[in-house]
């Protein structure tokens, strides 16, 4: 997918990303289990098993919160975009931490019994008809299963195998997992004696995740409203006015939203203009927020690249995206809103020709 043919292996960026992640998690667990208990105001130290399950459970919850914040943060401020790279490492580690939490719970609360611990987990509380006393464990199991499936299918092999639409839809279930986790905590740990710190953290997490998604949604809606010129401007035999040439920076794009909410990125480079769909074939990343590097459009999410004239990834890669026809009248760029089949060559518009 990259014209540089750089092997995407364990490069320095990935190592730094993973190192920061592991340091944060190790510090959290060390402080929770070993350091902070010395400051507890309790009549007798909390049991090790209880401490560990609380440490891993709360760690997984906070990690999931950060994961869900990265997406909208990167939309609101492009300096967060590097955090999107390797986000799957974050997700896989979160699933692992959550699994350790579940394992401690199984080995403590559901152990030492004549009933098998897995049977006990599902059968010892079946009060599904009530809110207070609802088997919140089931919600945790549901979240854990989703996290496992997402972790197992996070590799690009599965993206290619399942196809981008199905893979994307599958991975949107992270929001269901988050809802399950919030309910798991709200109907479980938060129902104990008042714990203002835990209550505050859970509330702040929910407000942060919802607030950032809401803010991003508003920003996207505002962008689409701003594209009224492209939707309702002077029509010229089916063409729409996409804006002025001067609005586009060299090696960058302007994104135009069409009537059917399809977005088109119009790139300016080497005195030429080309238009392609805004959605990357990899994970639907916003190509128009990327740049032209080494003569190729480069996705800001994971660096996938495409040739400008035909929307094809440089050989031997096979990804293809839709292209669009453009024409120039004076300094005004006109766009044919009909998408061409992915990989269709379109001769770039040369600047100056239409003047």
């Amino acid at each position: 997918m990259s014209v540089q043919y750089t092997p995407v292996l364990w490069n320095r960026n990935k190592l730094v990303y993973d190192a920061v992640l592991l340091i944060a998690v190790a510090l959290y667990l060390y402080v929770f289990i070993r350091y902070a208990p010395a400051f507890e105001d309790v009549t007798k130290p909390i049991d090790g098993a209880t401490l560990r399950m609380r440490a891993f459970g709360s760690c997984a919850f906070l990690m999931l919160t950060v994961i869900l914040c990265i997406g909208p943060l990167a939309r609101l401020d492009r300096r967060f975009l590097p955090l999107l790279y390797n986000r799957r490492h974050f997700g896989v580690l979160t699933a692992g931490i959550a699994a350790v939490h579940a394992n401690y719970v199984l080995g403590w609360y559901y152990n030492f019994s004549p009933t098998d611990k897995y049977v006990a987990l599902l059968s010892s509380n079946t009060s599904y008809g009530q809110i207070l006393g609802f088997p919140f464990e089931a919600l945790g199991i549901g979240a854990l299963l989703i996290l496992f499936v997402l972790a197992a299918t996070s590799h690009d092999f599965w993206l290619s195998f399942l196809g981008a639409p199905l893979w994307k839809a599958l991975h949107m279930s992270i929001y269901i997992a988050y809802a399950f986790v919030v309910l798991h905590v709200a109907l479980g740990a938060l129902q104990g004696p008042g714990d203002p710190i835990l209550t505050s953290l859970v509330t702040a997490s929910v407000v942060l995740v919802c607030g950032l998604h809401f803010a991003t949604g508003r920003m996207e809606a505002a962008r689409e409203r701003g594209e009224a010129t492209a939707k309702a401007s002077l029509q010229n035999a089916g063409w729409v006015v996409a804006g002025e040439v001067d609005e586009i920076d060299e090696d960058c794009a302007k994104v135009v939203t069409l009537d059917d909410d399809e977005r088109v990125a119009i790139f300016k480079y080497d005195g030429k203009l080309s238009a392609i769909t805004n959605a990357c074939a990899h994970q639907n990343g916003p190509l128009g927020e990327g740049k032209v590097l080494w003569g190729c459009i480069t996705c800001p999410w994971h660096g996938y690249q495409y040739n400008l004239a035909d929307g094809r990834a440089p050989e031997p890669f096979t990804e293809k995206i839709s292209t669009y026809r453009l024409k120039l009248i004076g300094s005004t760029v006109l766009l044919d809103p009909k998408a061409l089949p992915p990989g269709t060559h379109v001769e770039p518009v040369r600047l100056g020709e239409g003047a």
Binding site: N13, V20, V42, T43, D47, R54, L121, E137, Q191, D249
Partner: protein, 253 residues
Amino acid sequence: MSWKQTKDAPFFVGYLNAVPKPLAVFALVFSLCFVGGMGLAALALSSTQNDPGNGGFQWGNRFEQAGMLELRPYPVFRVPGDEESGPRTYMLSGQGKRGVFGQAEANAGTPVTLRGVPVNRGDLTMIQVGNVEATEDGAGNFTPSDAVPLGRWKLAGEICDGKCYAGAMRPGQGLAHKACADLCITGGIPPVFVSTGPVEGRSFFLMADKDGNLLGDEIQGLLALYIEVEGDVERLDDLLVFKADLSTARILK
């Protein structure tokens, strides 16, 4: 308003090691905030955990006494008094989440020596039974007193499993512990009622149904909730038994 990338904006490509300096600085600041934030969150959450009480196994104070086993309706062990204290009645459990119905039924009415480990929280004591043997010890050969009725009471509190609440698995109460409590009680651990108001100075009651029989699945919907329930209370030596009439139970919160 349309979305525009700008020529001068730094652009990160993950498979290249060269990170534009402004983004590297930003990522470093974010990393420090992330790591520091996680550390602070751990400190805040861990150091302010609620007190689970001082209950626990009394490993250094092993129990060995001669007395009589009875089913009231859960197994209890009754020992005669001595110069220091009057007769006592202990609730019993087996290893882990198991009761001791088998041993109690097999040895009911005959003097035995019982060895085990006390699990204690305040005036709630449960003996985790290790070994029961018939005894010739004269101390075990006595006639326990009858239960003394203390009248009908309306109590507010929580149904817990007696062993976890006594300290086997602290805190051993509350909705977060509901499934474990259900598992313990199903396994034969005696349920106890932890009352917010005392009767004769005691707040823990061995539970039975209103006729003095074993409680069944009918307590599942009430377990670990803060409830109000009426029933007859009777005293077995130093242990109070609450014969709860669950038809009067009301969930308070």
